[in-house]
Amino acid sequence: MKAGSNLERMLEAGHFAVTGEIGPPKSWDGAVVQHHAKMMKGYCESYNLTDNQTAIVRLSSIAAGKLLLDAECEPNIQIVCRDRNRIAMQSDVLGAAALGIKNILALSGDHQKFGNHPYSKNVYDVDSIQLIQMLDGMRKGYFQSGEQMKGEPPKIYIGCAANPFADPFEFRVTRLEKKADAGADFCQTQCLLDMERFERWMELVRARGLHKRIKILAGITPLKSVKAAKYMRDYVAGMMVSDDIIQRLEKAEDIKAEGVQLAIEQIEYLKKMEGVAGVHIMAIAWEEIVPEIVKRAGLYPRPEV
């Protein structure tokens, strides 16, 4: 065991894992974070806390992580490379560990152009793969500079992202391999709205045996509207939405119900796919739907580990 988090224990025990996601608010109202956590409590092993997602200032992911711990839910804090240099990041990792946070997910971060401070400077002192290396070094007792840490090293279960829907397609598998080489233990994929492309990516992943080196959690996002699906397809870089999904939603009488049904079918399908270790359900601003999805996908109650 690297950190002994719920998520790690679940994955190591070979159970199909479920993780959720909470976007901290654009305010200091910590109750919002706990409210969302309570809605999903018991349905996921851990909950990602986004780090100023889409470059919009929000309650910090580590502070939100502490709020989750207080609510007896396991946090998985995201760290992006956009806003902090290696000094600040390592300081935050030590701080997170001191608060009892065990899962950390390394990301590049959306460019600040999309956020509410487009005139800011970005950092990118290290990139996401170098951040994984840094986290791996820290849990072995070394700072990035090579200096040895005092006392017990922090216990970290290291996550990363993978995007099978970005280009160049073949390189996406190599990039996952680099992340595994850097020390990542698990990855969560971009939300999966094109199953055919995901399957092709998984084939390449299996051909390289990567699923045996890194736990892969497929990203699931229940769709609420046709407009949202088309927006993701047309305007979000690195996202794909297949035509059959759009058509199904267009034909549906109750679009939200169809979106949920689609997510459940995807999970059922993924449960049987070799190399998929679990799902990461991203129902941002729709957290209350997560229990229904988990139950109807036959993943509740969660196994005891």
Partner: protein, 226 residues
């Protein structure tokens, strides 16, 4: 070359509002090549400024000069006698030239006439693109001759990130993804496997982050001392 763009006329007129006589100083280096601050642009801007001020009924005398290079102290000697008689110098050189003018004439007001944009290349008529950030430690040997520091919006070393699609950057559909370019070029050269290697954390102390940089070459300083 250093690519610059002339500042808007109103901003420049604002700088010069209290002056009666100025020297408008062009540079024969990069800004001539990128059509921002050479002899031709000095002529155009000189006329524009004089006309604008004449219209206000507060004439401005503009002494127009263009020297070989404004980033070399030796070229200022030829204009020193004329600088005495002007209220200020409006330099159309890049930021380096403007600062050298200020250093060469410590008692004279110096105004910037251009915004220095980047180190880049002329791609087409009227189009320039950034190519180098002078980070101080070149990695082009590992990236197929395409710079991720200057050309990736996130300056990452192990790209492309998840925002790369159809060869374009998440920042804009007009921006090529530098890592997609690197990937395609290394593929063409039969070297794409080299992208499996993790490029290590960069030593930014060679860049601006190490403080203002200075290069001293002892082989040359010793020689000049002889």
């Amino acid at each position: 070359m250093i690519v610059a763009e002339r500042k808007p006329i109103d901003e420049i007129l604002g700088f010069l509002s209290k002056h009666q006589k100025i020297m408008l100083l062009g540079c024969g280096g990069c800004v001539t090549v990128c059509l921002a601050g050479g002899e031709k642009e000095v002529g155009i801007l000189g006329s524009e400024l004089a006309m604008a001020r004449a219209k206000e009924g507060r004439p401005l005398e503009v002494v127009q000069r263009t020297i070989e290079r404004q980033c070399d102290f030796e070229y200022f000697e030829g204009i020193r006698h004329e600088v005495k008689d002007v209220d200020a110098i409006l330099s159309l050189a890049c930021g380096i030239g403007i600062q050298t003018v200020a250093e060469a004439f410590p008692d004279k007001v110096v105004w910037p006439g251009v915004n220095t944009k980047f180190l880049g290349v002329n791609q087409n008529v009227g189009v320039w693109a950034e190519r180098c950030q002078a980070c101080g430690q070149c990695v082009l040997d590992k990236t197929g001759g395409i710079c991720p520091v200057a050309r990736c919006s996130k300056s990452i070393f192990n790209g492309p990130c998840g925002g790369s699609q159809h060869g374009k950057c998440e920042v804009s559909a007009d921006t090529d993804c530098a890592w997609a370019l690197i990937h395609d070029r290394l593929t063409r050269l039969g070297q794409v496997d080299s992208m499996r290697e993790i490029l290590p954390v960069k030593d930014w102390s060679h860049s601006r982050d190490g403080g203002p940089r200075k290069l001293v070459r002892e082989d040359l300083t010793l020689e000049s001392g002889k």
